[in-house]
């Protein structure tokens, strides 16, 4: 249980975290790891803060990741990356889409969207990889592929999983008509 890798995928409900976690779960299972993925379901989560846990290693018991346990946080949105910092290990890494989405308290004027969050995270000594996943997804053909562009970037941190293995898992997880779009988004993210 000590060799378990813990990945949190966080964002705003409706951004496509389920596909990202499905892809990661698939690729690590194909590598022979034990894996658990804990998801958030139900339409009522739309627009809210959502978190998915992916854990893999020799033997995984708990489906959830606790404070101080995450090796990686993959975030679809800047504020959400900051929200889950206490879950990140002190030497953990953040891969974040630089998009900012106002939550309702900001929309209604009850709060302000915090400034310089990416800088603040870096100042805390955290390794932050920020990218404009939305732009890469648009380049690939649809803003909906931002999730896979982020996963492309994330894939660079795993030397033991080849590009080919990632692509095979994308093929297994994505409907055929969106396959080329997602492959392109993955490449753009991986080479960003």
């Amino acid at each position: 249980m000590n060799n378990t890798t813990n990945v949190m995928i966080v964002g705003v409900g409706g951004q496509g975290s389920l596909l990202a976690s499905k892809l990661l779960g698939h690729v690590v299972m194909a590598k022979g790891y034990d894996v658990k993925v804990s998801e958030v379901h139900g339409m009522s989560q739309r627009g809210g803060s959502v978190v998915t846990y992916v854990r893999f290693g020799d033997k995984v018991y708990s489906p959830v990741i606790d404070k101080g346990e995450a090796d990686y946080i993959i975030s679809f949105e800047v504020l959400e990356a900051a929200r889950y910092l206490p879950f990140l290990k002190k030497d953990g890494r953040i891969i974040v889409n630089s998009q900012e989405i106002d939550p309702m308290p900001v929309i209604t004027g009850a709060a302000d969207y915090p400034e310089r969050l990416l800088d603040k995270m870096t100042e805390l000594g955290i390794e932050v990889s920020a990218m404009d996943a939305l732009a890469l997804a648009n380049e690939a053909g649809s803003p909906k592929a931002a999730n896979i562009a982020l996963m492309g970037r994330f894939s660079k941190f795993f030397d033991d999983i080849t590009e080919d293995e990632w692509l095979k898992s994308i093929e297994a997880c994505v409907p055929p008509k969106f396959l080329e779009l997602n492959k392109k988004a993955f490449y753009l993210g991986r080479n960003s």
Partner: protein
């Protein structure tokens, strides 16, 4: 074959492999996907029932007819289905029958945190509790065998972290057991007093027999530990947290069958360890059982009776070191779920809020009408309660309540248990104004069909209940239909129906903006010269509208061009593609 599978999907796979043939459920997070996944197997007849009671009785009928059957629901759904449950316990089954109940500790998507194990105990029905996807599949197959062997329905209790977690399973082939032809048996199946009196001792004997089974079954297993000063009794997801936090430090009695609980197995486990600790979420069910059989245990004095646990909760309670994460950044704004851009409920709630009406609410996406800035909903209790409570409210206050109070209920919730409340309004004649929010789908649980949509679980054409005709048939003379995107008309109709001297129904009709067949208009945009920064458009709490550089701004990735905000702008600053 080895696959990574959602707990609920593994459950459905278990139904398939065990030869289940009839499935009837009502959707409810976190149970919904069991039935959705079962519906993907053409060998299984699957349907959405109007509510959980109907689903359970349908499953019972199929069992009586000799086919293995299933019904699934969330914890509060079992409240609705409790009536048949307690007596199916007496009749027993013909072919095997499984009931899935999915609890929601921490209330990710529920109105309370009730512990379904009490229902198993109260109804004297055996309950299994899987701890991952693999067990979800295997326990389902085993549950059918137990159901037929012991002549009882079997409850399988899921919870959010088992139902909505993926882990690895090994799938097998489908095996349909030989048919069990229906045989008339009045003494077994007609539960009038003379017969039920004779069935009750059979139920009590069955519990004794099942307790004996619980002593021997590998469902309840002991895992050795290095240090016997503590022994842990646990089940479900708490077992996973225990192993994650402690590994094989202490011996563990892992319970896969939580009703009836073993007696001798627990006593002999307790004899081998120093102190017994029970780790269970929500109520002290295992703990109280241990105490009742004379075993001293520590449970709720170490662990909360509320919410979900985790590995660190277990570690902390047992004196293990805590982990430290990165420093938090203070004062981050919260991000609660919101009604989607283009949600048809928004215009309706804006109108109710603007007119300062009392709004008795119900269960669905539209509960979000209680959230700022709309803050329109005054009360939400359980499925169907809006209409019945409105009737009581108006009977208590008379015209003082009737002139400024409405209730709101979704189409699916109305079919589930709103009709009986409406019958009470029609029968006992309160001057109530009932608003049915007809978005043509069961929205909150992720788009399931219902009796008003005209489609079945597969999306194929099905019977369609006509809401207007139904209300007329109940005796309502006043049944109005409005489009909630049209604010002026919506307000006019609501005022008119509140003012009238008889009960009325307003159907606020517009399909959910997320439905695939709903065509969206292009995004609106803001003419920043015309925008006077009055923030009138912000009153509806649309996630697509924000303020940037002190002017309204429309997010074109979210806006679906519904036009509700345009009706609030006095300066015509919100424009469509053509600049109108």
């Amino acid at each position: 074959m080895k696959e990574i599978m959602l707990g609920n999907k593994a459950f459905a796979r278990g139904l398939y492999e065990a030869g289940a043939e009839v499935v009837s459920s009502y959707p409810g997070t976190p149970s919904t996907e069991v039935t959705e996944e079962a519906a993907k197997f053409p060998e299984i007849y699957c349907e959405w029932a109007p509510n959980e009671k109907v689903a359970m009785e349908t499953a019972f009928g199929a069992s009586l007819a000799g086919k293995r059957s299933f019904c699934g629901m969330k914890h509060v759904g079992l409240n609705v289905a409790a009536d048949p449950l307690f007596t199916i316990s007496y009749t027993g089954v013909n072919a095997g029958m499984i009931i899935c109940v999915a609890d929601d500790p921490a209330m990710h998507s529920s109105q309370n945190e009730q512990d379904s194990r009490h229902y198993a105990i109260a109804s004297k029905v055996p309950m299994l509790e899987p701890a991952d996807s693999s067990e979800s599949l295997e326990f389902t197959k085993l549950a059918y065998e137990l159901s037929e062997q012991y002549d009882t329905p079997v409850i399988i209790k899921m919870c959010t972290r088992i139902a909505h977690s993926q882990s690895i399973v090994n799938t097998g082939e489908r095996v349909v057991p030989p048919a069990k032809p229906y045989e008339k048996n009045i003494a077994k199946y007609v539960m009038m007093p003379g017969n039920a009196i004779k069935r009750h001792p059979i139920v009590e004997q069955r519990t004794l027999d099942l307790t004996e089974y619980a002593e021997k079954t590998p469902l309840n297993r002991i895992e050795e530990g290095k240090d016997n000063s503590i022994g842990i009794i646990t089940s479900s997801t708490c077992y996973q947290y225990t192993k994650e936090a402690l590994g094989d430090k202490y011996p563990v009695l892992k319970l896969g069958m939580v009703n009836p609980l073993p007696v001798e197995k627990i006593k002999s486990f307790a004899r081998t360890v120093g102190k017994v600790v029970v780790i269970e979420e929500l109520d002290p069910v295992i703990e109280n059982h241990c105490k009742a059989i004379g075993i001293e245990v520590k449970g709720k004095e170490l662990f909360s009776i509320m919410g979900e646990f985790s590995q660190s909760v277990v570690a902390k309670a047992l004196g293990e070191p805590e982990k430290e994460g990165c420093t938090a950044i203070d004062k981050l704004p919260v991000r609660p779920p919101v009604m989607c851009a283009g949600c048809p409920h928004r215009g309706l709630f804006y109108t109710l809020s603007k007119n300062k009406l009392n709004v008795l609410g119900d269960i669905g996406c539209y509960t979000l009408g209680a959230v700022a800035p709309l803050s329109a909903v005054d009360m939400t209790l359980c499925m169907g309660a809006s209409i019945s409570s409105l009737h009581g409210f108006n009977k208590a206050l008379g015209s003082e309540g009737e002139k400024n109070t409405v209730c709101v209920i979704g189409d699916s919730t109305f079919m589930h248990s709103g009709m009986t409340g409406l019958a009470n309004v029609a029968y006992n004649q309160s001057n109530s104004t009932v608003i049915i929010l007809d978005n043509s789908i069961t929205g909150m649980t992720g788009h399931q069909q219902n009796p008003t949509t005209g489609f079945d679980i597969h999306g194929d054409p099905a019977g369609k209940i006509d809401l207007e005709a139904l209300c007329h048939a109940m005796g309502f003379n006043r049944v109005a239909v409005v489009d909630p995107y049209d604010l002026a008309e919506t307000e006019r109709v609501i005022k008119e129906e509140l003012a009238t001297d008889e009960p009325s129904v307003i159907i606020s009709r517009r399909p959910c903006a997320l439905l695939k067949y709903v065509k969206h208009k292009p995004s609106l945009h803001v003419d920043t010269d015309k925008c006077k920064s009055c923030r009138a458009c912000m009153k509806i709490g649309c996630p697509a509208i924000s303020f940037k550089n002190n002017k309204a701004h429309v997010d074109n990735t979210l806006c679906v061009g519904c036009g509700v905000c345009q009706q609030l702008c006095k300066f015509d600053a919100l424009l469509d593609k053509e600049g109108k």
